[in-house]
């Protein structure tokens, strides 16, 4: 099983300098844990000191913000597309 994850510019250095990586997991939390296995230090960049996803980092499954789904327990399956995107300003 394999899920494509889009990596934002500030995380590319920790993710082998790639725009997209493959990872596994049944939920977003598992997927992020798998990314930390593949790329040590990944977790620390994505979670804050209190163990929550950083508040200026958004995660999308097939274009939908996981905060409109089930957050980190949002289920994911083979072929899903996950994007990690920093919050950007409006206009």
């Amino acid at each position: 099983m394999s899920i494509t994850v889009r990596i934002p510019a500030p995380l590319q250095a920790v993710a082998g300098n790639r725009l997209e990586v493959e990872a596994d997991g049944g939920t977003i939390a598992e997927l992020l844990a798998d990314l930390d296995n593949r790329f040590p230090g990944f977790r620390q960049r994505v979670y804050d000191e209190t163990g929550r996803l950083r508040r200026f980092l958004n995660v999308y499954v097939n274009q939908e913000d996981i905060r409109f789904l089930s957050g980190e327990t949002t289920p994911i399956k083979d072929g899903d597309e996950v994007s990690i995107v920093p919050a950007v300003a409006g206009g």
Binding site: R45, V88, G90
Partner: protein
């Protein structure tokens, strides 16, 4: 321009404190926090005086020491210095004693507050040799980005949601950019642009990789308000919130004027207004949430329809720091406020301005803004771009034949109706 002495020194992360050189960065590389330019305020204090500001043209660049350019600006000569109107008739209607409208409905060249931020962003793009100017926009930013790209002669792409008002689309298309209408709401447009910056490092996306520079332009609204009031602050300022760029920079602008010694006194209390159909920041404020919960927007105020505001926390910090508050208003009150402002002051605001005035009315009625204290309400966009919002809300023209007796009969009829009403 090597002869220009600039006072901006670098970027600093508001969240973890890390410092960066002046680079085109969207967020802190470490914690994804918010980056802000740092200035040498001591040097600015010694150099920048009221007299020097007076001696310069009436546009945003008269405050250029407090803007993050490293050379002299090449575009934006008509931007800013919009009227601060003493709104006597409106004040009387609302029962308040000192009310002003900061009228960015007539900001130039594209009739919204975005004409303050975009010239700073494009100047930065030009200084750093970027090859294309772009943005993700609810409409007004796109208009301004397209116009300034034309001024500077840069290729341009504007990304907008596919449900925008026709006028906002025409007001981008006319400048000749590529207009990309993205299926979905503004937050989808934003996400797409955030992903694109990683692929196209030579593009300057105003609200993405130029964000720390772009946002600074909004401080000029505060600088102008203080200068136009005779180098003093009002007690209250009411501002609209969408992505949250404007409000915290107005706060920062007031704060900087104190830092560099141009104005003394207590900072104004800053209040936020959002439409009920998209009010994640007001919701977080009123419920004291530590995380902003994103919303799916549903409001006629499309320029405020940002359900996941990147600077929402920055807004909350400014409200708290200044003792301000937050208010959400229903669409009917937005329309009512647009009409009230037009009928009392002769100013035609777009829906965002209606939301802001409606919010001010509520805050005044509930006593949050005491009636005898001075208030500035920011009208940030022009009603000519959101005319559809008034469908069915205005009287119809009186139709007559071109004959005196026809007109006189119709006129008498109208006067009878007016007396009856």
């Amino acid at each position: 321009m090597s002869s220009y002495i600039h006072h901006v020194q670098g970027l600093a992360c508001r969240d973890c404190g890390r410092n960066y050189p002046l680079e085109n960065l969207t967020v802190c590389e470490h914690c994804f926090g918010r980056l802000e330019p740092r200035y040498n305020y001591g040097a600015i204090r010694r150099y920048l005086s009221r007299g020097l500001i007076y001696s310069r043209p009436q546009n945003i660049w008269r405050y250029r020491e407090l803007l993050p350019l490293t050379g002299l600006p090449q575009v934006g000569q008509s931007n800013g210095f919009t009227p601060l109107v003493r709104a006597r008739r409106l004040a009387e209607r609302l029962g308040v004693s000192e009310l002003y409208i900061k009228n960015d409905a007539v900001n130039a060249p594209t009739l919204s507050y975005k004409d303050r931020v975009v010239p700073v962003a494009i100047s930065r793009a030009l200084e750093t040799g970027l090859e294309l100017f772009a943005c993700a926009s609810t409409g007004n930013l796109a208009n301004s980005v397209a116009a300034h790209a034309a001024q500077a002669g840069l290729p341009c792409i504007v990304f907008i949601p596919d449900n925008l008002e026709a006028a906002k689309i025409v007001n981008s298309l006319v400048y000749g950019p590529t207009v990309v209408a993205v299926k979905g709401n503004y937050d989808a447009v934003n996400r797409l642009c955030a992903e694109l910056t990683a692929r196209h490092p030579s593009w300057g996306i105003a609200n993405v990789n130029l964000r720390p520079y772009y946002a600074e332009g909004a401080k000029t609204m505060a600088f102008e308000i203080a200068e136009q009031l005779g180098w003093r602050f009002p007690r209250h300022v009411v501002l609209p919130v969408a992505g949250g760029t404007l409000l915290p920079r107005v706060h920062r602008g007031f704060d900087e004027f104190v830092k560099v010694g141009l104005v003394e006194g207590e900072l104004p209390r800053i209040h936020a207004a959002q439409p009920e159909g998209c009010c994640p920041v007001v919701d977080a404020f009123l419920h004291r949430r530590d995380r902003i919960v994103p919303q799916k927007p549903n409001t006629i105020a499309k320029s405020l329809a940002i359900g996941d505001p990147a600077d929402g926390y920055t807004v909350l910090e400014s409200l708290k720091a200044t003792g301000g508050s937050a208010v959400a208003v229903p669409d009917e009150e937005i329309i009512g406020a647009i009409k009230l402002l037009a009928e009392t002051e002769g100013i035609f605001a777009e829906t965002a301005g209606g939301a802001t005035l409606a919010g001010a009315v509520r805050l005044s009625e509930s006593g949050v803004i005491p009636r005898h204290e001075s208030i500035v309400v920011a009208v940030t966009g022009n009603g000519l771009k959101t005319q559809a919002a008034l469908d069915g809300a205005l009287a119809q023209p009186v139709r007559v034949e071109a004959r005196v007796e026809h007109f006189e009969a119709a006129w008498q009829e109208l006067q009878k109706e007016a007396i009856a009403a």
